[in-house]
Chain length 460, copies 2
Amino acid sequence: MKGVPQRKMTYWNVKGTVTDSANEQVRVPNVIALVGLPARGKTYISHKLCRYLNWIGIKTKAFNVGEYRRKACNLEEQGEFEFFSPHNNKGNKIREDCARLAIEDMGRYLDSKEGEVAILDATNTTRARRKLLVDYCREMQHNPPFRVFFIESVCDDPDIINSNITEVKTCSPDYKGIMSEEAAKEDFMKRIEMYKMQYEPIDEEADEELSYIKVINAGKSFYVHNVNGHVQSRVVYFLMNIHLLPRSIYLTRHGESEYNRIGRLGGDAPLSENGLKYASRLQNYFEKEKINELRVWSSQKIRAAQTASKMAHIAQHVEYWKVLDEIDAGICEGLTYEDFESRYPKQFGERDKDKYHYRYPSGESYEDLVARLEPVIMELERQSNVLVISHQAVLRCILAYFTNQNRDDLPYLKVPLHTVIKLTPKAYSCEVEMFKFDIAAVNTYREKPKTDGSATHAEQ
Amino acid sequence: MKGVPQRKMTYWNVKGTVTDSANEQVRVPNVIALVGLPARGKTYISHKLCRYLNWIGIKTKAFNVGEYRRKACNLEEQGEFEFFSPHNNKGNKIREDCARLAIEDMGRYLDSKEGEVAILDATNTTRARRKLLVDYCREMQHNPPFRVFFIESVCDDPDIINSNITEVKTCSPDYKGIMSEEAAKEDFMKRIEMYKMQYEPIDEEADEELSYIKVINAGKSFYVHNVNGHVQSRVVYFLMNIHLLPRSIYLTRHGESEYNRIGRLGGDAPLSENGLKYASRLQNYFEKEKINELRVWSSQKIRAAQTASKMAHIAQHVEYWKVLDEIDAGICEGLTYEDFESRYPKQFGERDKDKYHYRYPSGESYEDLVARLEPVIMELERQSNVLVISHQAVLRCILAYFTNQNRDDLPYLKVPLHTVIKLTPKAYSCEVEMFKFDIAAVNTYREKPKTDGSATHAEQ
């Protein structure tokens, strides 16, 4: 009885005028500029923020001034830490040119409406440099002018600094293959000293008119000033929830359900016999893994709750979240893919054309799912070890967040039945391991159709 | 096709085991203690936080030490500002006793699991007093011990302090009817001086081990330290989004729809002739009101979008949010109330018994709605003037938040068609004005049934 099929045309006409709500909230372009000495996690923050904002639908790009420098002069030319001395005129000139180039590219990116948020990943350690940026953003040539928000990472905890330096000396393109790890470390520490000579932290009084957050010792404390607008508010909340502690996130679909077996979409069917086997084997798997303080979050669908119930005495606790329920297929709930295609051929074709934005009549789109899952991502960022027991479409959205997949690929990510996906976030990436259990299950994956529209199995 | 009716019993059995997700996230009891001189908005924060946490489903109670004091000694006995001098032994004794009583009541409230969060609304201006509280919360008699989070309101902006003092001198039960406004103001300023003599603000170094937020100049800046757990994280985000600037929030349902006319639930029907009239009159209303930078948020249902489209050239912009769509009535979408009762008599009865928690099979409950609307409330808190064009059940949830209604009353709040509800938040309450337009519309209100189960019109 769901939906008003006789009004389908009207529905789609109105929908055509409905603008993307995520975009609608963001009118004014935002520049987010990092501030801080080398090895304070600026690039880490910049990557992570860029991924988060893109995932929630705010188009964002990071501009790393270090990369401009590496393009502007080869590493031999640049030489070692002396290049970064405030007294090295050639070095200063190159570094200033690079900053200017990055800022101009950023300006073009925002002026052209290609994106809504630009992240300037640079040290921006002097008040003069920050003023230059603010003045540029306020120039009337930009219509509208850009809002600027600074994120300063301040750290005096030697452990955190050391671990960041170790990360850099082994990974930085400034050193990789150029010198030994020990030499790199020494050079890098001298480079930091060069920056310290001219570093002017953002000051509560002198910089009263700026909007900024100071992230102190990797999130132990924060100082937040003059937050302005939706994007800045979201950024602040996100920065206050992320952490660097080692942990893993486990994703799994419920065991195979009776509906999976007959290829039907959605519904609320219980587990099949093989599905029940999987639930037991999942329990064994986590018994062996002995994960510290494991939390289990399940959807409220029967098939997920049945799978999760096996975890009750292993996990610290099991929670059932409606927000983890599968995508709502609206008028297509309970249909097979073949039914869908034969009953609503036009809809079926629409979906193949743009699966991310396609909304089932009276149901949801992947875009809707991402909006609904945002609080889950925020809570996952805050937590340590979590197992999420949910559904194909939901887990695709979560997986896309952690592995930084774009919207075109997201609805086609492979999340097979009877498989545990283990995610281990690292500084600049996320390790993905797949553990396929040896229990038969139907394949619910449907390839991205070729131009001839051919398809395989039922899925969402 | 939605829903799996043949499995309804299984569905409800599983649902029975599903715990309240909002509760599940909150395990450890939290004490939230205010800190600050008189007239720093502590009671304002405490009220507002209490309302927010209860609305999102975290049971919270505020304990105001001032009220204990007013009970412990009548106002003549207490006398004037000298009572609050650190050198007044009798005053000290009474004030200490009151603080102890409030803390003990708070402890009982949390230990008995009656609630999950207790807010201690007191000055807590000395380090010794705060230590006493922390020690009490960590005592092993509590199982588990309580987490403590301090909210210190710091203010050196004379305008803000003055406006708070004005609020107090006209409203405080310490002065009302006791002395003239001028005398009250003078006495109150002297009382503040008494507190200043012993005030020890929370210190970044000396109080390193505490968890706290400093709210500086009513939200211009914040210092946040050691945030621990879900509740504290939510509290911080909330405090960073609220503001005191004058503004109004306007709520209205879409104009009467074709479905309203025939008493059907949900669906996606267009406006009736009278509904279209209302949309035009709404436009006239806001043209006359001339509201500064009005934002319009509409649901994505046709009837709401049609109503909102009239606002396009008045509002700063119009946004269409799926999250504002009406409650999903699942298998009852498109039915009349009579159909619902005759087809699913058991469900119909369940709903009357506990309308807030009742979830339509394959649909939503009011509780689900509140969870889905939380980001809307957060964004409404951040914004200035907003008109929300949505639906009966959704607007009940929003209205309940602003007017602090409990969960039993929420699903029965009156939100008639062709009526604008204007909400103007004040310091300790919210002014509600209803503007009923003179355009005929069906009545969709259904009274809370008496024991005989009698009902009137169709509604959700």
